[in-house]
């Protein structure tokens, strides 16, 4: 009976799973960097704000206020919706644009929003916004990463393998989250 060459199969698994998960690893890695810094920037959208000035709107009739604002802003077409958060403000919602008109002064805040190309899609997949089938794909990816980690440890034998210097590197990798957690719980 031929000897089962477990290391050969371990390496084949590591190699081929590695190929399959290249794209997903890049998506989760790049998106992870982007989402980690959510406090400093918006990783999903580019939001631009600018102030436009029109003459004040003094009428009190709602329909007239809307018509006057559209006319003064030279907007074409009807807004998707309108809203008045308070008596002095009118908001006009167009595709990817919101006009907030301060009626007494005529100051208008124009907010334009557009998704960051590619990064938006990556982030949506990372946070599992689609749910449904993507949950299964994300679970399989997680299992694949676990397999990559385990098979990765046993790829090499000898002084560079897990029984040699590899164990020290694995040890360092275990200590990083462990020590940080101790520090976080006691000193932060």
């Amino acid at each position: 009976m031929a000897e089962f060459k477990w290391r050969k199969w371990n390496n084949i698994l590591h190699r081929d799973i590695g190929y399959v998960v290249v794209a997903l690893t890049l998506i989760y890695g790049i998106s992870g960097l982007a989402v980690n810094h959510i406090a400093d920037w918006n990783p999903n959208y580019k939001i631009e704000k600018e102030i436009i000035t029109i003459s004040p709107i003094t009428t009190t009739d709602r329909e007239q206020i809307v018509a006057e604002a559209i006319s003064k802003l030279n907007l074409t077409g009807e807004p998707k919706n309108t809203f008045r958060p308070d008596p002095e403000t009118l908001q006009l919602f167009y595709d990817k644009k919101t006009y907030s008109v301060d009626l007494p002064t005529g100051n208008v805040l124009l907010e334009s929003t557009r998704p960051r190309r590619v990064l938006f899609e990556m982030n949506q997949l990372h946070v599992n916004a689609p749910k449904k089938a993507w949950t299964i794909i994300a679970d399989l990816f997680a299992v694949a990463l676990i397999m990559m980690a385990i098979t990765g440890m046993f790829m090499l034998k000898g002084p560079t393998g897990i029984t040699g210097r590899g164990k020290w590197f694995v040890g360092i990798g275990v200590l990083i989250p462990l020590l940080y957690w101790v520090y976080y719980m006691n000193f932060q």
């Binding site: 939001i47 919706n81 809203f83 958060p85 308070d86 908001q91 929003t113």
Partner: protein
């Protein structure tokens, strides 16, 4: 199948997906209620609705810019809106929901907040939206009425 085939399939998928006609989109759990409740009725008598599941309809007038974890739904009355809040990641509302009409279902939550709690919330909200926040504008205590969101259809 060589890499050129794979690349052309990928490009085709991207092009086709970008041409999909945007219709009503479902978020979270399926809606279960048929009868709508007016936002103005909820805001006029919040205690009466506290803990009750309701369905509201209105324009989406604001969206959480960073995480998509809440939307503001306009009331049927002027100068009123209600926040539809979901736990982070449970539903992710896109910014392009702004201006569209939402059918939103969830449980009404009525909470009283102290001035300190309101300042903390204000800071967090301003940070989320990338806006300035002046704590002196906070007067309190305040009762906050919101919908703990379960599901929505945005059209």
């Amino acid at each position: 199948m060589n890499y050129k085939h794979v690349l052309s399939i990928a490009v085709t998928i991207v092009l086709v997906s970008s041409m999909v006609i945007a219709g009503p989109k479902n978020y979270g759990k399926k809606l279960t209620l048929k009868e709508k409740t007016k936002v103005s009725d909820i805001l006029a008598n919040p205690e009466q609705y506290n803990g009750k599941k309701i369905l509201v309809e209105g324009a989406v007038v604001d969206v959480c810019a960073n995480r998509g974890c809440w939307i503001k739904v306009a009331s049927d009355k002027e100068f009123e809106s209600i926040r539809f809040k979901v736990d982070d990641g449970v539903i992710v509302f896109p910014m392009d929901a702004k201006g569209k009409t939402a059918l939103a279902e969830g449980v009404i939550s009525v909470k009283k907040y102290t001035v300190e709690e309101l300042i903390e919330q204000g800071k967090h909200h301003a940070e989320e939206q990338g806006e300035e926040f002046d704590p002196s504008t906070v007067t309190g205590p305040k009762t906050v009425v919101q919908i703990m969101g379960e599901g929505a259809v945005i059209k």
